[in-house]
């Protein structure tokens, strides 16, 4: 018995390994005296054998069993006592005598065997060697035959209890429980649990098998890291087996050569590696990966040599490897020996050994423990794989590699399936079937088969058995990966099934819609999509072809966008991969638009021009950006390189656009005066250099001519919406997208801070803060002339310019009238109702004088006297000073304001009255209009025009006028505020009693003006003086009245009286003088009846001439000229003295203004053309 060391004892003490374990002799030797006693012992043993040979054997056998049991149940103590029972003889006989006993025993056994039956012997042997001990229990695998399902727990089994423990210490605690239960086994409080276990995939908990929860808590009591207080939960019986069946979700078992893995630690942490082989037990894998050999060791050569002696590569250069690891690079023998010396590398066949690592074909080949590689989520990128396949000329093998990746990302592929996807089954019973995905439940798909034989049957399939199916011609979109967002047409579908397994991914090649290049992706990354991808054009706030600033010195143009990065071509023609955060600044588009460079001919280059290199490759392209006037980025779709973007010196470019078309645009804005001049631009159709100007007609589209200007002048303008749902809203133009009435403008409304897009045609420019602008027109208008399609259209400016415009039918549109354009042109061509409400129809509306430069809107409004159709003509050129500006007389604005009045201006009079009365305080005249103001801006004498005259025709011929007046709005003749000297302190205006119009002639006489009011002569206030009025005949030529024979004839009125409205009003005149150069008619014709509408008053031309006031509050008064009138000015304000005649009295009104009312007559001022001279 003692010849066998008991296994339990040994195990418990964890003895040192004993080589001669089997042989009791050896161990006895060690335990006892030693080898020197050997002979003696043998002798003694022999002695003793005789006594107890048989017994010995029996004892040995039984003892062994007993011992086993005892030890396992009672432990050491029992064993020792047992040992102690024998020693008596052993004390005297050396224990080592056992050796002999054994020898004898063997002999006896042989004898014994001979005596016994074979069965007995066999049983004995089985008993003897069946378990543990010196021999090993035969491995029987007794339970392996039972199917697992029969092992399921029953109610009779102990329960499993879940116990919370400190995460990370589960394994430790399970060990502790084991040790504790062994330690306490024979104490008063044995641990009564049956087992405990832990699973790596269930962190923070262990499971204990016990009959009750109390036993569990008792067992766990005192263990650090166990939290019984958090509950000891019973595991339901049906979940018990599951806990032990948990399969760690990793690819551990599917490692096969070719698999991609990543290295976990060391210098190569994170690097991709490929499995070359796997050791038998799957514990280590041979991998190859791209080495990172430091070819620039920090130390000098000596250090390098020292390093190479160091066998451990990891410690060779800790500093450099930790600070920055060398780049991945295939092993190159020459390079390495250059740096590290020839001795560092040894060659064995095809393999190099360097610093303990083996290099083959440039890769490191190494056996690595399974737990130091990452098997999941490897996701090798194409770049990484390319490094591996660089040497791999065999295309076939490359494909295999790809299929392995596909395999590895199988789970990802599952997530990619979506209802509606077109899939085909590639494995299982249904292989070959295809259909569309209907539903997805976890790993199960329901598809509707497309096979007609199956009648659209719904079939459930495991998700992994299907793959997406595409066919050439499908339009697809890439859902993930580097090419995300690309779309294109499938051109081929390659099956990777050439490798050993059926594969769920095919490689689909399609032609990108954007780059027109072939792109190959896995079918799992694709979806069918109708859209044409442009999503990759924008990354964050950056867009394809944006000019961006990379650092202070470098700018570049984005020529390709990826999912979160771009490729940028810098101004030095380098291509860079850049991430959004590396961009310091996006160059504003307008920067580039404003930047100007010149080409090789000195012409200006602008963004968008088509240019060609004058030398070198002569590449053509459209200018995308200009940088610092030196570099030009061009784009040409036909160039494959850099996405078609290239950079070149601006000076090396020539335009390939015909020069003529660029002519106008080439001039910097501001240089081209004609363009700046709205009058010219609008009116001088065909004159302008710009064809588009002509095309614009009266529409005011002139803007296109300036379209090349830096930016739309409209931007920033205050506008009011005149049409549509936003009508009446005021806002600021933020942006425009072109010219023309239909172009859209983005308008930020003042209300609600809202931005709307609206057609320009629905906008009207609103002018802020110019209300007091006296001479607005000249300077101001150009600004919006051409460009503004609305407003009065290109036309408006005229008014400004010249005042030549006759006030045809113009509505006093406040907008159009704006302070700035005091005068309006008539011939409204513009559709804008505001501007031209009644063009042509001037009849009803009072016409305004044009020329008015009046600063004051009010004045202005009333200023010019336009004659409405019915309105008696008014004289224009009223002298009246602007009530606002100067109370009296001051000239401020000279001009011949029209005095007129009567019905005029249905629209405004009301306003006028009040204004005027306030300011002037005068005029109570029946006409009421006396003072009105109209400080006509004197502009040039021409301001007048606006009589209504025969309106029917007026619009038609008014229209052309602008052309005349137009060219130079600022021309001297039309100077906005000539400030005609006015007589100070003029008193009241005379009131002309007759409706006879005063006629003032134009110097310029752009066009013959018909008398403003056809019936002026019939005004009752003039009746007293009728016979002395000096008139002349004007306008007959135009109307072909009597062939115009009397045109220009001077005459005296003999009589005039009103007849029925249906008849032409005529007057009897006596012709006093024929115009020079015309043949004098005979006397018989000297007295004749003549339509009043052709009769025009003649303004006084000499001092002391008598005249009758035709307009204003003092209408009908007879005055004497007290100043020598200037023939050059028709609207001059002259000093007159009232002639007191019978019945004629000067009026009170405007008393304050009277310069000095002296005895017989009062001196006052009157505008010349308000008077009609007397014979």
């Amino acid at each position: 018995m003692s010849d066998n060391e008991s296994p339990p004892r040994r195990k418990l003490y964890d003895d040192e390994e004993d080589e001669e374990e089997e042989d009791s002799e050896g161990s006895e030797d060690v335990e006892n005296e030693g080898s020197r006693k050997k002979p003696k012992r043998v002798k003694q043993r022999q002695k003793r054998d005789a006594l107890s040979r048989f017994l010995d054997i029996e004892a040995e056998v039984s003892d062994e069993e007993e011992e086993d049991e005892d030890l396992s149940s009672e432990g050491e103590a029992g064993f020792i006592t047992k040992e102690g029972a024998l020693p008596e003889d052993e004390d005297e006989d050396d224990l080592s005598g056992r050796h002999h006993a054994r020898v004898d025993k063997r002999r006896q056994a042989e004898e014994y065997r001979a005596e016994k039956s074979a069965e007995e012997i066999a049983r004995e042997l089985a008993d003897r060697y069946g378990r543990g001990g010196g021999g090993h229990r035969r491995f029987t695998g007794e339970m392996s035959e039972i199917p697992q399902r029969l092992l399921m727990p029953s109610v009779h089994d102990a329960s499993l209890w879940q116990v919370r423990v400190k995460p990370g210490r589960e394994r430790e605690i399970v060990f502790s429980l084991m040790r504790k239960s062994l330690d306490l086994e024979y104490t008063n409080k044995p641990v009564s649990i049956l087992s405990a276990f832990q699973r790596d995939s269930l962190p923070g908990m262990i499971y204990v098998e016990a009959r009750s929860a109390q036993q569990v808590s008792q067992a766990c009591n005192g263990l650090v890291g166990v939290y019984p207080s958090r509950g000891i939960h019973l595991v339901p019986i049906d979940e018990m087996a599951l806990l032990l069946m948990i399969k760690k979700v990793d690819g551990g078992e599917k490692i096969v050569p070719g698999t991609w893995v990543r290295l976990k630690r060391g210098k190569y942490a994170g690097d991709l590696a490929q499995v070359v082989d796997v050791t038998e037990n799957g514990e280590e894998v041979g991998v190859r990966f791209v080495p990172r050999i430091d070819l620039n060791p920090r130390e000098d050569d000596g250090g390098g040599r020292k390093r190479k002696k160091n066998p451990a590569p990891n410690t060779t250069n800790p500093s450099s490897s930790s600070s920055s690891r060398p780049p991945q690079r295939l092993f190159n023998f020459e390079e390495v020996i250059k740096v590290y010396g020839r001795n560092a590398v040894s060659k064995r066949g095809q393999v190099f050994v360097f610093l303990g690592d083996t290099y083959k074909d440039g890769f490191v080949e190494k056996d690595i423990k399974l737990n130091s590689i990452i098997l999941e989520d490897v996701n090798p990128t194409l770049d990484e794989i390319t490094m591996f396949s660089a040497n791999n000329t065999n295309l076939e093998e490359t494909m295999v590699d790809l299929s392995i990746i596909a395999e590895a990302s199988r789970k990802a592929a599952l997530a990619v399936l979506q209802p509606g996807d077109h899939v085909e089954v590639f494995q299982g019973e249904q292989a070959g079937l295809h259909g569309t995905v209907q539903e997805i439940h976890g790993d199960t798909l329901t598809i509707i088969a497309l096979d007609p034989a199956l009648h659209s049957q719904k079939i459930d399939l495991p998700a992994r058995s299907v793959r997406k199916r595409f066919k050439p011609g499908d339009h697809v979109k890439v859902m993930q990966g580097k090419n995300t967002g690309e779309t294109g047409l499938v051109v081929s579908v390659a099956d990777t099934n050439n490798s050993r397994t059926m594969n769920e991914n095919t490689i689909v090649t399609f032609i990108s819609d954007m780059s027109m290049q072939e792109i190959s992706v896995f079918s799992k990354d694709l979806r069918e999509a109708a859209e044409v991808g442009n999503t990759t054009n924008i990354v964050g706030e950056y867009e394809l072809h944006d000019l961006v600033q990379l650092d202070l010195q470098t700018v570049g143009v984005i020529y390709k966008t990826h999912q979160s990065s771009f490729l940028i071509l810098t101004q030095h023609s380098q291509s860079r991969l850049v991430h959004p955060h590396q961009i310091s600044l996006k160059k504003d588009k307008s920067d580039s638009l404003r930047s100007i460079a010149t080409d090789s001919h000195g012409f200006e280059i602008r963004v968008g021009d088509m240019m060609k290199e004058s030398e070198g490759e002569q590449r053509k392209g459209r200018v995308l950006h200009i940088h610092q006037s030196h570099f030009a980025f061009l784009f040409n779709r036909d160039i494959a390189e850099n996405g078609g973007v290239f950079v070149t010196r601006a000076r090396g470019l020539v335009s390939i656009t015909p020069k003529g078309a660029l002519g106008a645009g080439k001039l910097p804005p501001g240089a081209d005066l004609t363009k700046m001049n709205p009058a010219a631009a609008g009116g001088a159709q065909g004159l302008g250099p710009n064809p588009s100007g002509a095309a614009s007609g009266g529409g005011g589209l002139v803007g296109s001519a300036i379209g090349r200007g830096p930016r739309d002048r409209l931007i920033g303008a205050h506008v009011v919406v005149i049409k549509g749902p936003h009508k009446g809203y005021v806002g600021i133009v933020k942006d425009t997208n072109g010219v023309g009435l239909t172009a859209l403008a983005r308008v930020e409304l003042n209300t609600g801070n809202k931005i709307i897009s609206i057609e320009k045609g629905k906008l009207h420019r609103k002018l802020w803060g110019n209300n007091n602008n006296n001479n607005g027109s000249g300077g101001r208008t150009p600004g919006w002339g051409g460009r503004t399609p609305f407003g009065s259209g290109g036309r408006t400016p005229f008014g400004a310019g010249a005042g030549a415009g006759v006030g045809g039918g113009r509505t006093p549109n406040p907008y159009a009238a704006g302070n700035q354009t005091p005068a309006w042109n008539t011939g409204s061509k513009t559709p804008n109702p505001y501007a031209h409400g009644n063009a042509g129809g001037g009849n009803q509306t009072p016409a305004w004088n044009v020329g008015s430069k009046t600063p004051n809107p009010y004045t202005l409004g009333g200023g010019g006297g336009g004659g409405g159709g019915q309105t008696p003509a008014w004289n224009v050129g009223g002298r009246t000073p602007n009530p606002y500006v100067n109370k009296n007389s001051t000239s401020g604005n000279g001009g011949d304001g029209g005095g007129g009045n009567s019905t005029w201006g249905g629209a405004t009079p009301g306003r006028w009255d009040s204004d005027r009365n306030e300011d002037n305080g005068s005029h109570k005249d029946g006409g009421g209009r006396g003072g009105w103001g109209s400080p006509i801006p004197a502009g040039s004498g021409s301001g007048i025009g606006g009589w209504g005259a025969d309106i029917s025709s007026s619009s038609s011929w008014n229209a052309p006028t602008p052309a005349f007046g137009a060219p130079t709005p600022s021309g001297l003749g039309y100077a906005p505020t000539p400030v005609i000297p006015s007589t100070p302190g003029y008193g009241q205006q005379q009131i002309a009693s007759t409706p006879a119009p005063t006629y003032s002639d134009y110097e310029s006489n752009a066009a013959p003006t018909p008398e403003p009011s056809p019936t002026w002569l019939l005004d009752p206030t003039l009746s007293l003086h009728l016979s002395v009025l000096h008139i002349r005949i004007l306008g007959t030529k135009l109307d072909k009245y009597l062939d115009g024979a009397f045109e220009g004839v001077q005459a005296r009125v003999l009589a005039a009286s009103r007849v029925g409205d249906s008849f032409e009003q005529t007057a009897l005149i006596k012709i006093e003088g024929w115009p020079e150069g015309s043949s004098e008619g005979d006397d018989s014709q000297s007295e004749r009846s003549f339509p009043i509408r052709y009769l025009q008053p003649v303004a006084p031309a000499t001092q002391d001439a008598t005249a009758v006031i035709l307009y204003g509050p003092r209408k009908g008064e007879k005055v004497k000229m007290r100043q020598r009138p200037d023939e050059g000015s028709r609207t001059e304000v002259v000093v007159v003295e009232s002639v007191v005649e019978s019945g004629g009295t000067s009026r009170e009104g405007g008393g304050g203004e009277e310069g000095g009312g002296g005895g017989g007559g009062a001196f006052w001022e009157c505008q010349k053309d308000w008077m009609c001279v007397c014979w």
Binding site: P7, P8, R10, K11, L12, D14, E16, E17, E19, D68, E69, S72, S73, G132, G135, R137, R138, F139, T140, G141, E142, M143, S144, I146, Q148, L151, M152, D157, A158, R171, E172, V174, F175, S176, L177, M178, S181, L182, V191, I193, L194, S195, A196, F197, Q198, D200, E209, M240, L244, I246, K247, K248, G252, E253, E280, N281, G282, E283, L370, N371
Partner: protein, 121 residues
Amino acid sequence: MSDAASAIIPPTKSRHLRACLLCSIIQTSADFRSIGCPNCEEILQLKDNPDRILACTTSYFDGVIALIDTETSWVARWQRTAKYARGMYAARVKGRVPEDVEAELDSRGIKYRPRDQSEQD
């Protein structure tokens, strides 16, 4: 409690724990070398045979079970370790025994059940 022997309980912090591919017992590689596998030594012959130890045991296992009462424990039965020595066992062991062991088992009419849970019935 049971007449089963107790295996050596490895120190908790041991870094070189390995599990027997056949019986899934966990020991340090030193223990395997010194005493072999307490359950399968007869067939695996691990003792003093490092190469054999490498081939028949693995450090790649998952889940540690403390088997205290092997006879009555359901866990032991489920793991088919009820007749084995008390000790620490792995819930799951990756890998298969070498082919010669499989052949030997086969010749004895013992069904080999890999402990990686790849086969279930």
